[in-house]
Symmetry: C2
Subunit: 233 residues, 2 copies
Amino acid sequence: MNVTAFKRRKEFGKTLASDIAHRMRNEIVTCRLKPGEVLKFDTLRLAYGASFTTLREALTCLAAEGLVVAEEQRGFKVAPISLSDLIDLTRARILIEVDLIRRSIENGDDDWEIAVISSIHRLGIIEGREIEDYADNPEWKAAHREFHESLVAACGSPTLLGIRQSLFERAERYRNISARFRPRPRDKAGEHRALMKAAVGRDADRACELIAKHIQSTTDNVIKHASELFSQN
Amino acid sequence: MNVTAFKRRKEFGKTLASDIAHRMRNEIVTCRLKPGEVLKFDTLRLAYGASFTTLREALTCLAAEGLVVAEEQRGFKVAPISLSDLIDLTRARILIEVDLIRRSIENGDDDWEIAVISSIHRLGIIEGREIEDYADNPEWKAAHREFHESLVAACGSPTLLGIRQSLFERAERYRNISARFRPRPRDKAGEHRALMKAAVGRDADRACELIAKHIQSTTDNVIKHASELFSQN
DNA sequence: AGCGGTAGTATTTTCGAAAATCTGGTTCTG
DNA sequence: CAGAACCAGATTTTCGAAAATACTACCGCT
């Protein structure tokens, strides 16, 4: 194998295909690859330096996650965004997240509690460093993701955790839109702290209520202030 | 295109890869491909008459559905079955199915009602033809699947419908095991009729309760009578 | 005998060419 | 003139060989 490929592979995952899937996932959720954009193999081959076959495997993966759509014999395109998709996605996420957080609070042991507290602490440190616009920071995003994952980590359901993760990923684009169009800053840090407190205080009902509101709030903001971004459906 | 490929392609889907994925899905859920079995490309190439690349794409698809597992650089194997997987799967299915059936009952229009009734009728016809063992009949399985799909079809959530479908598929192997080990026949037809009545009678609470029991019942039977099939976890 | 290293084999992963299919425009026909 | 049929170029899908990686069994050493 040539040196370039070797280096590239080191960045993430063991196979080139999974590495490319990872990179494309990133470009899609940050909208560097635009929603609805047609993905032609020749272009991709140039951009990622991989062959048809390898790209095809990466795209097949992303299609399963709902980040790209495959039309047989007619290629792939970045999954479009729409209000109806956002609403559908939000409802699915709330259903699952609420269930998982409740179970996690039931099952979570001391290590779980510690992980929740340590992940919100890390988030706080990052937020403290830059007063504004931390939501654009990849480091903050990783910590944010980590915090939400820690909340549900003790739920004991690998299947739903996997689904949750893929829905969380799909929602990333809408979170970015929401942040851009929000009229005044939202107190995310406060919401996260309240969630953490409800979780470690083993107040499942409150935690479920908070997480549902937390998820719904982004959606409401997009609907209110960014509807014009979408065509009609 | 050569004749063989053309014929094969006609059977299902537009591309060879999706056709092969479809055929393999079948072999896995019927356990003709054994749980945990290692899937070597040379063997598959012989069995399905397709190239590495095409098989790889099919396997990537199935991996996303949870029917095969991929270990990077170490190939693919049929997803193992286990009690913990069954329990996890069952819980996920109940969570989602209950939500979808409730929403479906809320939203369903006349056409939905008609589809529910017509699909249970078709199921009844098939069950009437062969008194016993209809659960092994592919035709019954298709009709059974169709009936359950019709119940949730009006829920209005494409995302959760997709997830539901993949979980339903994953559960197929356990349903087959359950049928083999059931001490005395279960009144599935009765359960289905009750479900249908609750649905068209718009009794959401009752429908939710019935569907949860319906799903749980298979799992309970496997745990009670077929535990020895699984190693330990 | 047990262990670490190593060569050889089995297997997976990647590549780029070749085949199949789609798209859009043009011509032909009624 | 409308619509079907067809060609040419663009694009996707499939193939089998070649490269990269994992596995196995043997050898030499302590």
